[in-house]
């Protein structure tokens, strides 16, 4: 049976359909999860999609963090459930303290949408295992508050432990510290990423298909573990 990957819809989620489509194209079974419901419907992994949950009012991800579904996801993540937060999902993961640091207003002060080159730095996470270390990929980036910040100690720790999973190349689009585009937790099941791999799974509607491996990675990790 195909692994079941939950995609959460918060009020204001926008890329939820796209994330579900990416899961399907990768060979998984997307399962819709609702913010107000703490039942994870026995999914094998969870994607927190991009968008503007609760309008991104207050701070991105700040209100979504308290949704009932997040209680279950935080608990699941602590016992190894694979969780990928994309863009707004990354912000929610930071606000929930599943990942360190925070995401702040782009240094340009503008929302930016561009095809972004990245280098995959770490392939030990459940979401990047289908890449080779050093792979360069191009996937869409689109955010207004994507600057990753953390104190120096935390940044050093992330680097030291190999927990930076992807870094911006050619241009740092939002002022992220140390060009960080994505990070993982210690265990490697929780990954946060600012650019959008789910928009790079079909050549017709994305710049590349470079993003697909995020989704095949977790499916293969799950199958391998089973």
């Amino acid at each position: 049976m195909n692994p079941r990957v939950g995609v959460v819809t918060f009020p204001g989620s926008l890329d939820d359909r796209d994330a579900a489509r990416a899961v399907r194209i990768a060979g998984g079974e997307p399962v819709a999860l609702w913010h107000g419901d703490d039942d994870l419907r026995s999914v094998d992994a969870v994607v927190l999609p991009g968008g503007f949950s609760y309008g991104d009012y207050l701070r991105c991800g700040a209100i979504a963090r308290f949704a009932p579904v997040m209680h279950s996801i935080v608990e699941g993540a602590k016992s190894g459930l694979p969780v990928l937060g994309i863009c707004n999902g990354f912000q929610i993961l930071c606000e929930s303290h599943l990942l360190p640091g925070a995401l702040t207003r782009n240094d340009s002060l503008h929302f930016i949408c561009r095809d972004q080159r990245l280098r995959i730095e770490d392939t030990t996470s459940m979401w990047t295992s289908d890449y080779e270390p050093g792979d360069e990929i191009v996937i869409p980036l689109k955010n207004g508050e994507g600057g990753f910040v953390a104190d120096e100690k935390t940044l050093d720790m992330l680097e030291g432990e190999g927990r930076v999973i992807a870094r911006y190349l050619e241009l740092n689009p939002n002022g992220s510290r140390r060009d960080i585009a994505g990070i993982r937790n210690e265990r490697g099941n929780v990954v946060g990423l600012m650019p959008h791999p789910e928009h790079a799974v079909e050549a017709l509607v994305g710049p590349t298909t470079d993003g697909l491996a995020f989704f095949t990675s977790v499916l293969n990790s799950l199958v391998g573990a089973a």
Binding site: G55, Y57, L58, I63
Partner: protein, 84 residues
């Protein structure tokens, strides 16, 4: 050296979707009786030397026209002289 604090708030009759979102969240997290929330901006500006005369007047103008948008926002400005 002076420190100027400018608070900018949406005019009361203007919709404040951010404030509404915060009000909703406070309620869901158990704080009862919240009747209104407005969200504004605060600028803390450090200025060398004394802020007097023309410069003070200019600061006022800028608070009204640059830091706030008089079409939809009100501002208030406080000058603290004793900033370190």
């Amino acid at each position: 050296m002076a420190r100027v604090v400018v608070d900018v708030m949406l005019k009361p009759e203007i919709l404040d979707p951010q404030g509404r979102a915060v009000q909703g969240a406070l309620g869901r997290l158990g704080l009862t009786g919240v009747s209104d929330v407005r969200q504004g901006k605060q600028f803390v500006i450090d200025i060398e030397g004394d802020l007097e005369g023309d410069r003070l007047a200019l600061m006022h103008t800028l608070a009204e026209e640059l830091l706030s948008n008089p079409v939809i926002e009100d501002y208030s400005m406080t000058v603290l002289e004793d900033a370190q």
